[in-house]
């Protein structure tokens, strides 16, 4: 019998070594596997290479991983945000290497790794500083850059629901990088709100088939859902509104992404 569910977060991140390349899902806060990242911090691995669209914001999740000095290199499209102070400091102090990748090339390179593509030609970034050092090729009168796959040892992803085969569904724009990162890592770990019985996910609507998933861990409901239904009452970080109404900072939103 196949059962990819693990009992707790510690088990979910077990075996992640110093120096590992770790993909971290999410776009800003949406889809960021904060609980798995916290467990990774507790587990102690360092010298990590992180592949993620952003480099974290505030003091939680990816930002905390960087603050704790566990990250050697970040591969991402948009590290800078209004609240990316931990990344900013580490980068300015030279404690962190940055590989900046246009967001679409980042996504496609991750997909290429998962789909066994050796390399591909992308029209993005031609003529820009990010094209430097890359092979240029003209195809049908247009110039393209050769882009290589991005693989990882581990992918940490946040989904909505999963079953014991590791089939996963996501919620709204929290889907973002999860489905492609799941295909590109040797070990894919998914945190979900809820683990449901096999057969209860609609086979037509499964976004990540279990073949890409190694471990699934339940972390409890999102605060803005009740019995799976949206009830709101939170800010963009998922914090209850009531608790933060007296905090002026709570009304500021994360910085842009372009």
């Amino acid at each position: 019998m196949i059962d990819k569910t693990v009992a707790d977060l510690r088990e979910a991140v077990a075996g992640i070594r110093d120096g590992a390349t770790v993909m971290v899902g999410g776009f800003g806060r949406a889809g960021q596997p904060v609980e798995l990242i916290d467990a990774l911090i507790d587990a102690g691995a360092s010298e990590l290479t992180i592949v993620s669209n952003n480099a974290g914001g505030g003091d939680v999740g990816l930002a905390r991983l960087i603050a704790e000095g566990r990250v050697r290199k970040v591969v991402c499209s948009f590290p800078r945000q209004s609240d990316s102070w931990h990344f900013d400091r580490a980068y300015r102090e030279g404690r962190l290497e940055l590989e900046l990748v246009p967001q679409g090339n980042l996504a496609e390179r991750i997909r290429a790794a998962g789909a066994g593509i050796g390399a591909f030609y992308s029209p993005t970034a031609v003529g820009t500083p990010l094209a430097e050092g890359k092979e240029h090729r003209e195809i049908d009168g247009r110039t393209y850059l050769l882009e290589h796959p991005i693989r990882a040892d581990v992918a940490l992803i946040s989904g909505l629901r999963a079953d014991r085969w590791g089939n996963v569904v996501y919620r709204r724009t929290a889907r973002n990088f999860g489905p492609i990162m799941a295909t590109a890592a040797t070990t894919t770990v998914v945190q979900v709100d809820e683990i449901v019985p096999l057969g209860s996910l609609d086979p037509e609507a499964i976004v990540t088939p279990g073949i890409f998933v190694d471990r699934v861990v339940a972390v409890g409901n999102r605060r803005w859902l009740r019995d799976g239904e949206f009830v709101g009452g939170v800010d963009l970080q998922g914090e209850p509104l009531a608790e933060r109404l007296d905090d002026p900072a709570a009304t500021s939103t994360a910085g842009g992404d372009r």
Binding site: S77, R92, G104, T124, R172, T173, F177, V234, D235
Partner: protein, 222 residues
């Protein structure tokens, strides 16, 4: 009448040029204002590159859904007919030329349509590009929406960009607070003047030999 359009008026002007049924990506910042001025009754389908078509306006207070944000990481809503997809599919949509229009901000636009909007090249700046380069080369048309002049008084329309490029020859039109410009094989052509602005003024401000659009079959739908 002032000599410049304010941001809302400019957003309204851009919105009026978006045809019914168009698939549009609005960059972060000022371009997102365009969504508030789309002609009532027209259906313009908004794409956000973090994985959604059919994006609706900001939610009512208390109805923020952290799982439902736009590329600027602001809360949005879902219209009937919306669809979600992952990042590779979302950027495939863009790179594959399926978006009709993308509206971006800019630091500089050159007379050959080069766009610089992601980096000022300052040595101490933390670089961040996001989806700007993918958007620049992806949409069928790239419109820029910006003030004509920087706060320092320099023209954002230039003969050649001095800032690091986002994309080469990608911009087709520029909406500024003083005028609308098309990018043509002969350089910038003025399409429309706002307020008291004159062509001579624009030539002086930009230092460019501007032409004037003839036969402007503006696709105004509203």
């Amino acid at each position: 009448m002032t000599d410049r359009l304010d941001r809302d008026a400019l957003a309204r002007r851009v919105a009026a040029d978006i045809p019914d049924g168009a698939y549009v990506n609005l960059g972060i910042g000022a371009p997102t204002l365009v969504a508030d001025h789309l002609p009532p009754g027209s259906e313009v389908i908004l794409h956000t590159e973090n994985g959604m078509l059919g994006m609706g306006p900001a939610p009512a207070p208390g109805h923020v859904d952290p799982d439902l944000i736009n590329a600027g990481k602001l809360a949005v809503t879902e219209l009937p007919g919306a669809a979600y997809f992952h990042h590779a599919d979302s950027f495939g949509m863009m790179r594959g030329g399926h978006l009709d229009l993308c509206i971006l901000g800019a630091f500089q636009v050159s007379q050959t349509g080069d766009l610089a909007n992601w980096s000022t090249g300052a040595p101490d700046a933390i670089p961040a590009v996001g989806g700007a380069m993918d958007l620049a080369i992806g949409a069928k048309d790239v419109y820029v929406m910006t003030d004509l002049m920087t706060k320092g008084g320099e023209s954002k329309l230039v003969a050649a960009c001095t800032y690091p490029l986002t994309g080469v020859g990608c911009v087709t039109r520029v909406y500024t607070d003083r005028a609308v410009f098309d990018v043509t094989p002969e350089g910038f052509a003025v399409r429309e003047l706002f307020g008291t602005t004159t062509l001579d003024e624009l030539r002086e401000l930009t230092g460019l030999a501007l032409t004037v659009v003839v036969e402007a079959a503006t696709p105004e739908e509203s």
